[in-house]
Amino acid sequence: MEDKPILHVSQVGINFGGLKAVDGFNLKLYPGELIGLIGPNGAGKTTVFNLLTGVYTPTEGEIMLNGERINGLAPFKVTRKGISRTFQNVRLFNEQSVLDNVKVAYHSLARHSIISSIFRLRNHFIGEQEMEAKAIDLLKIFQLDKVKDEKAKNLPYGGQRRLEIARALAAGPELLLLDEPAAGMNPQETNDLMELISFIREQFNLTILLIEHDMKLVMGICERISVLDHGLLIAEGTPDEVRNHPKVIEAYLGEEVISNHA
């Protein structure tokens, strides 16, 4: 915790029409952390992700990545600076193969130019082969190598979710943002996912920020949790602190929810 924060968000806010979707949001992420972002529906969690990744430009505040200001940067530039994400509703390149989905994300790591591709110069083959090898290695980790030639849209839902995470990793992030990765999964599948997340964090040296409504997952693997409500940060702390925070119980968890472990 003595390191410099990898991500430092201070007083960030955005308006939609009259609605303050996010207001004075603060967050510090240190390298290697796994942080949860929770809150009622419509609290502004996804909007925070959109602000961090450049999809929306904050109307106020500052987002610093490794000491560099990134607000308002185009999404692709943010990604190249080291943040990548998954989406709440899966957004794959449906007609492309599983392999190509991942290769697309390796795009900015390769160097061969349009000219060398058009004229099939040496660089093209070297670059493409490198991408392919990397992509296949990654797919193996996610147990998707067997279906690498399937179109992404033909994967079962769980496979699509995993592919989305794999693709996000291929973009080479330091910071990975996961938006409700367990949505639509049954408890058993969620268990597998938790293991997977822990594994890739180690393997790829990642800092992870995740949004999730599945409390078993959030409480199970996050080290710290931030809670948003109506665009405002209402609580922050370890899972235990957050779980017992009266405001969080009131706005989000409800009474005796833990015993039900939804």
């Binding site: 996804t46 959109n50 999809v55 709440q88």
Partner: protein, 291 residues
């Protein structure tokens, strides 16, 4: 005075565009199809009116009603035969089909009666009124009135009536609409019927106002109406009318400056400029996809 006259010229030209664009935007709004056939329905409407007047001796209003009816049926038939199968295909496939159907109609009509133009009989008295020194023909006033009234009626139908709400629901998600108990096929047919009837009305009015009709007459007004609809924001009913007026006035002003040859180019330049600053048209909500 010349300028006032030109402004009025622009408005009357624009109201023709608006009239055609209304039906265009209506169909577009519901099934997201750039219905290129609209121009041909307009042509069929015009010819129906022509035959009704010239050969069966009907008056203006009976011919108008007849032509609207014929076109409504025609539009529904086209939808059922050509578009229905493509509901779940890509929109571009439907667009190509629309282009195909539109060529088909043009050339079937040419095959039947040749390509030569026809002159509309004079069924509506046309008086030229001199108001503050500008010449206003009573027919152009009529057209202006008709387009504005139709716009209001349509706007009411789409936003206030049950069938209108059903149309909008179908336009967004046909399957979810079915789950509401909406009969999707009938709703789409109703949309085509209304849109095509409008095209038919526009065809008759166009014929009376401009006199000349021919089998290829639908192409240019169809394109212009499309531009007008886009300009106003496709699918938005008042947008079509405003888009039509903007287009008419731009074209007229350009001609009035003596650049009549650049008129269409100017129309497109304005269109592109407006789109660059308002990428979904004048009235279109610039709704970025929610992520």
């Amino acid at each position: 005075m010349e300028w006032l006259q030109q402004l009025f010229n622009g408005i009357s030209l624009g109201s023709i565009y608006a009239l055609i664009a209304l039906g265009y935007t209506m169909v577009y709004g519901i099934i997201k199809l750039i219905n290129f056939v609209h121009g041909e329905v307009f042509m069929i409407g015009s010819f129906t009116g022509f035959y009704a007047i010239a050969f069966w001796g009907l008056g203006f209003f009976p011919s108008l009603v007849l032509s609207m009816t014929v076109c409504a049926v025609f539009g529904v038939v086209i939808e059922r035969v050509a578009y229905k199968r493509l509901r779940n295909s890509t929109r571009i496939a439907a667009l190509i089909t629309a282009i195909g159907v539109s060529l088909f109609i043009q050339y079937v009509v040419i095959y039947i009666r040749g390509a030569q133009p026809e002159a509309y009989p004079n069924v509506l008295p046309n008086r030229t009124l001199d108001i503050f020194g500008i010449q206003i023909s009573s027919q152009s006033l009529l057209i202006l009135l008709v387009s504005v009234v139709l716009m209001i009626i349509l706007q009411f139908i789409v936003h206030r009536t049950k069938i209108g709400k059903a149309m909008r629901a179908v336009s967004f998600d046909p399957d979810a609409a079915k789950l509401m108990g909406i009969n999707v096929n009938n709703t789409i047919s109703a949309t085509f019927a209304i849109g095509s009837a409008l095209a038919g009305a526009a065809g008759v009015i166009f014929g009376v106002y401009y006199t000349k009709i021919d089998p290829l007459m639908g192409i240019i007004p169809g394109l212009k109406a499309f531009i007008a609809a886009v300009l106003g924001g496709i699918g938005i009913i008042p947008g079509a009318v405003v888009g039509g007026f903007v287009l008419g006035i731009v074209e007229t002003v350009v001609s009035a400056f003596g650049f009549s040859l650049w008129r269409d180019a100017a129309a497109f330049i304005i269109l592109i400029l407006i789109l660059i600053f308002r990428p979904s048209g004048i009235f279109g909500k610039n709704s970025k996809e929610k992520v």
